[in-house]
């Protein structure tokens, strides 16, 4: 029972972690809570269903399931990154120098827009992701792990390792860290801030797209309002780990998934959705810098 909940929590947590990375990277650079990020994840879930349906219709799926899944994932990432890019250009870039809360309200506007955009184009009813693997899996120490769960955890881990390597080892990653530390100084050193911000949004959206498609496969059901609660939970995860810190987002996501899963199993499943909010409030009140974040003095 305990191990089973642990596996469920780990699956859920790695998805939260993937979304949380987008929040934390954007916050690190722009100090903006990208409220629309959850909707990117929702778009990813929808795109997964739509594109896979398209490939099934043209017969690619029956030719090779894994090939069509791979192409679907790739296209989902491309589309979601394009959405992230466009949102940044339209809704956030003109507000770069506005008071802090203007971009936040703009982001809420984008979030409402995207929810209703999907509702109008795809209908308000649940969309079903075809069950591809059934419940196939393996058993370790009397704990059932489905192949899907295992691949979600593995894919997430792989993405996180790649991202970490990208941020620590590449020149662009170095530039991202520099911009997060001090925008003015970074631009004096010849870093194009706008390009870095664009790249941040593209990467964050791509990660959310992967998370969205995997969740659609895992739960099998998708709705146009899943982005809101997933977004808030992922944001909680980012705050929990220390907003602006990439390893913090990973840790926070996994911890939050475990808390939710164990809480649902041992305390009450009805209040499952409230745990994230309670954690969010407690963390912000007690330790606003999070587990791995550095504490920021308020600038005067």
């Amino acid at each position: 029972m305990f191990l089973q909940q642990l596996i469920n929590g780990l699956t859920l947590g790695s998805v939260y972690a993937l979304i949380a990375l987008g929040y934390t990277m954007v916050y690190g650079i722009l100090e903006l809570i990208n409220f629309a990020h959850g909707e990117i994840y929702m778009l990813g879930a929808y795109l997964g269903i739509i594109l896979l349906g398209f490939f099934t219709a043209i017969g690619l799926t029956s030719y090779s399931l894994y090939l069509s899944l791979g192409i679907t994932l790739l296209l989902t990432v491309i589309f979601c990154s394009s959405y992230g890019f466009t949102i940044e250009k339209i809704a956030y870039k003109p507000l770069r120098n506005a008071p802090r809360l203007s971009p936040l309200i703009s982001a809420i506007g984008v979030s409402i827009f995207l929810q209703n955009y999907v509702m109008l184009t795809q209908g308000a009813t649940d969309k079903v992701f075809p069950s591809l693997f059934g419940g196939a899996g393996f058993t370790v120490m009397s704990t059932r792990i489905t192949y899907l769960q295992a691949s979600i955890i593995l894919v997430s881990a792989f993405m996180m390792i790649m991202l970490n390597a990208f941020i620590l080892k590449t020149k662009t990653g170095k530039a991202m860290r520099a911009v997060a530390q001090d925008k003015v100084m970074a631009s004096l050193l010849g870093i194009n801030i706008d390009t870095i911000i664009t790249i941040t949004f593209i990467i964050g959206s791509g990660l959310a797209a992967v998370a969205g498609m995997m969740v659609a496969m895992y739960y099998g059901l998708v709705n146009y309002f899943i982005g809101y609660s997933a977004g808030i939970k992922a944001f909680t995860a980012a705050v929990l780990g220390g907003i602006g810190s990439v390893p913090g987002a990973m840790l926070g996501g996994i911890l939050l998934g475990l808390v939710e899963s164990l809480g649902a199993g041992y305390i009450s499943s009805e209040y499952k959705d409230a745990y994230a909010f309670i954690i969010l409030i407690i963390i912000l009140l007690v330790k606003p810098e999070g587990l791995l974040g550095r504490s920021l003095e308020e600038k005067i």
Partner: protein, 380 residues
């Protein structure tokens, strides 16, 4: 690569590229046909709009200046507000039940939006969970009324008091937080209240809601008809407006505005910022609680569905659209946002879509709201 970017940046081709890009984004969701329609429409519309905007800009300026003119004397002249109330008082005499119904609703929203305006507009604390206070007010009223049999005039003050206490207790730890963190914590609070209402079956009957709330009485005269209830709501709206105007000009109101503009300078002037922020939240909660009571006794039935996050956003939109910190602006915003969807029944599907896009456009072009003052800034 250079050749490509020069093609994209070519001013003649740029609209086509923008149209192509947006059509590409629409493609998976709506199919090839809709995407090509969008592409063709935008390719024509963007240059046309650019061409027209030269001519439009003078018109826009004119609208702008007339809005400025209206705004200029709106908040300064209290008689104007009461002039607005005169036709409002006549509505039940001339209009049909449906319009009275919608006007009652907009009256309740005016009280709510005025309450939120104290917190967001005057004090500059963004609250994304204001609906929590509304819900607490409505549910305490409903429970006091149905379980204890208390009448409107005894249950209302009691539930407003409960709301204020709840607002105060929640605000004590929360007001220490900075702008957007505070916004997130209030959002969390709103969600927790919503989830609790949905799941605490023994008290709130969960998603089924509470029904059978008695209508208000004055002496032995029951306000069961729509028209008499209308005047009850109007009575509270007038009181709310008077109190708001008085408090805005008082020492407390001045302190709130000062806190919004510059916290550090304000505390250097000897204003206890924590205390004044607490007053602000509690005062806002007061009006939310009152609005909740009115809502519950009007509907005679409440369920958690009326108190979602979207409701918080809607109230916030009323405050922002009308103009942060401007009492008249907030009233106009509330009336616009209640009446607009009723007028535009056919396009109701697109209402939220337009609301979302409208928020973005408003933030970019007029962040202080339609009737807001120039010097209002939220969250420095």
């Amino acid at each position: 690569m250079n050749a490509l970017s020069s093609i994209i940046k070519n001013p003649l081709l740029k609209p086509a590229f923008i149209a192509l890009w947006l059509a590409f984004l629409l493609l998976p969701f709506r199919g090839v046909k809709a995407a090509s329609v969008l592409f063709i429409t935008l390719t024509i519309a963007i240059p046309a709009f650019k061409f027209l905007s030269g001519h439009l800009s003078s018109l826009v300026k004119q609208i702008h200046s007339s809005v400025e003119r209206v705004r200029h004397y709106l908040p300064s002249d209290s008689r104007f507000l009461f002039l607005l109330l005169l036709p409002a008082a006549a509505i039940p005499l001339v209009a049909q039940g449906y319009i009275v119904d919608v006007t009652i609703l907009s009256g309740i929203y005016i009280i709510l939006a005025l309450g939120l305006n104290v917190v967001v507009g005057f004090t500059g604390l963004l609250n994304l969970g204001f609906v929590a206070y509304y819900a607490i007010g409505a549910y305490s009223f409903a429970l006091l009324n149905t379980k204890l049999g208390m009448g409107f005039w005894s249950a209302m003050p009691a539930s407003v008091l409960i709301t204020v206490i709840a607002g105060f207790l929640f605000a004590v730890p929360a007001v220490r937080l900075r702008g957007d963190y505070l916004a997130l914590v209030t959002l969390g609070f709103g969600e927790i209240v919503h989830i609790t209402l949905n799941n605490w079956d023994s008290l709130t009957k969960g998603p089924n809601g509470i029904s059978g709330i008695a209508p208000p009485h004055i002496l032995s005269f029951g306000l069961t008809s729509l028209n008499s209830f209308y005047y009850l709501v109007m009575f509270f709206v007038v009181i709310a407006i008077i109190v708001m105007r008085r408090i805005h000009a008082s020492k407390i109101g001045r302190a709130w505005i000062a806190l919004r503009e510059d916290e550090i300078a304000t505390s250097a002037m000897g204003i206890n910022r924590t205390m004044y922020k607490l007053y602000s939240v509690a005062f806002g909660a007061f009006w939310a609680g009152l609005a909740g009571c009115l809502f519950a006794s009007k509907m005679r039935f409440i369920s958690p569905e009326s108190f979602t996050f979207m409701e918080s956003v809607l109230i916030l939109c009323m405050v922002i659209v009308g103009g942060l910190g401007s009492i008249a602006g907030v009233i106009i915003g509330a009336v616009i946002l209640v009446f607009l969807p009723e007028v535009l029944r056919e396009v109701q599907l697109y209402r939220m879509l337009a609301l979302g896009a409208g928020l973005v456009v408003l933030m970019i072009f007029r962040p202080q709201g339609l009737f807001g003052g120039k010097n209002v800034s939220i969250g420095s």
